[in-house]
């Protein structure tokens, strides 16, 4: 029997990880336009209506744009991170089984799931980075907008995209393909509208019940974190609270996503 130590070329998990990532980058590049249209159309339409038209009509004050922009970025980041993982997972496990060639890679199965989550994070960041200049262009100058809190911004972006990419992994592996439409209307839509993306959390002081109910929504922390980092003058949740909440949420969804992927991968 062949001794395991005598294998011809033991494969480094890191090299497999980057090969998987290269594959996802190659595929994403081929579909870049579709990807951006799919994930940024909704936030950009919002920018046009709420960041341009309504202020023009004087229905909302100028300050609203300052509160809106970080929220829009949070939506772009979260929504595309979820979709970039959930949709391919539903397809791969549900119909085409084309993930099989990756499941045969000589690395622990969880590493394959981890790579997918990282790829989702990258796509989330990409979508937000794409939306930012367009939003700025449509809305005009945003008072109080700053890039000076780079460290905080990076932490929010990494934790937020990880939370939502992991959530995408969980939804994509746990939900039946037929129910993918339901996922958008029952989970994603409420998450967007009650995620403090289109209004600051402190604004809910006016409706105290809502203020505490929305705290179960992970989107709230991404949006508030973005406000804390990008528009610190807008009243927002303390960044320390946001950070702790996102660490907990990201860890929770990461665990769920990993477990669910493993269950689907190994029969």
């Amino acid at each position: 029997m062949t001794a395991i130590a005598a294998m011809p070329h033991p494969v480094r998990p890191s090299s497999v990880f980057f090969a998987l990532l290269r594959r996802d980058v190659r595929v994403a590049r081929k579909e870049l336009v579709f990807f951006l249209v799919r994930t940024t159309m909704q936030p950009l339409l919002f920018v046009i209506v709420f960041g341009y038209l309504l202020p023009k009509m004087n229905f909302v004050g100028r300050g609203y744009q300052t509160a809106l922009l970080p929220g829009i970025l949070a939506v772009s980041l979260s929504l595309s991170a979820i979709q970039s993982v959930a949709l391919p997972m539903v397809q791969d496990f549900g119909w085409t089984k084309e993930i099989e060639d990756r499941l045969l890679a000589p690395v622990p199965t969880r590493l394959i799931a981890a790579e997918k989550i990282v790829a989702g994070m990258i796509q989330g960041v990409l979508a937000a980075a794409f939306v930012l200049p367009i939003a700025r262009l449509v809305m005009g100058p945003i008072s109080g907008f700053t890039f000076s809190n780079v460290g905080e911004l990076a932490a929010i972006v990494v934790l937020g995209s990880m939370a939502f990419s992991s959530l995408g992994m969980w939804l994509g592996t746990a939900i039946a393909p037929q129910q993918i439409g339901l996922m958008f209307s029952v989970i994603i839509a409420p998450m967007l509208f009650f995620g403090c993306a289109y209004y600051p959390w402190r604004g809910l002081d006016a409706v105290p019940v809502m203020k505490y109910l929305v705290l179960v929504n992970p989107m709230v922390y991404v949006a508030e974190g973005m406000r804390g980092a990008l528009t610190p003058n807008v009243p927002h949740m303390p960044l320390a609270v946001v950070g702790v909440a996102l660490v907990v949420i990201a860890g929770f969804f990461w665990t769920l996503g990993m477990r669910s992927f493993y269950k689907r991968a190994i029969g």
Binding site: M1, T2, A3, I4, M7, H9, P10, V11, R12, S15, V16, A19, L20, R22, R23, R26, V27, K30, E31, T96, K97, E98, E100, D101, R102, L103, L104, A105, P106, V107, P108, T109, A265, I266, G267
Partner: protein
Amino acid sequence: MGGASASAGMQGGAGVPRGEIVALESLDLEVRDGEFFGLLGPNGAGKTTTIGILTTRVKPTSGTAVVGGADVASQSVQVRQRIGVVPQRPNPDRSLNAIENLLFHAAYFGIPAATSLPRANQLLDQLGISDKAYAKVDEMSGGQQQRLMIARALIHEPQVIFLDEPTVGLDPQTRLSLWEILRQLHGQGRTIVMTTHYMEEADKLCDRIAIVDRGQLLELDTPEALKERAPGGTLVEMSLSGDASMVVDVVRAVEGVLRVEAQGRTLRVFSDRGGRVISPVIQAAEDNGVSVTNISLTEPSLETLFVARTGRKLD
């Protein structure tokens, strides 16, 4: 891998319960180094589950399975490094073109493009799909996709190749050329484990065949030995208008009849006089008030052995 040790095998009856149904009851088998091994059985026999366990894609609930010296449950990473898998239905990465499928699969095994590119071109050439190298997978026919799956299973030069019903759904010509490819691979000294429910395929290609049904191993030997073990004579299978068990005794008395089995309205007669027993058997049946509605003859073969051991036909 040395000597007569198992390059793939299961001991202690690796079992996999699927809901209440146990897909694999107990299966003890050992595939030798460099062997072309066939798992023959009808649909639902547990063949795919067996391949699933040996390729680390299905977790056995009991028993052990070892591939190339590595345990599928506790050393799955090492097992994956040693194996190439051709699935029952082609499952290429549809977001990539044909050659990208090969290059990325090689990369998942740590093989740099400088090494895998010439190898990929050579494989595509050998398999007769080099003109499709840069084609989208969706533009390839079923047979071409299946060849791509074989190329993918070989790109990292595995010790053991698993093929799960590789010729299902292929036209006869493609099937024959696939057989030729498999013979070549075997000729290169690779260990091949293939499932099939085509008798002829198992007979023509395999060094040894395990006949499985309902998750259990029924027979295990070379095709020649198995055929010799087939119950003597030609199998004459008849559909009757009534209960077949009523005529078993009278038919058994017919000259040349070796063995008779009844199952519902089906009567199976093993004859050492070929088809010459048909007319007296029909006579005997009609004397007992049942008529014969259909007759089929099968020469002694893996098929007759299978029918004798399981009471049903393969497909």
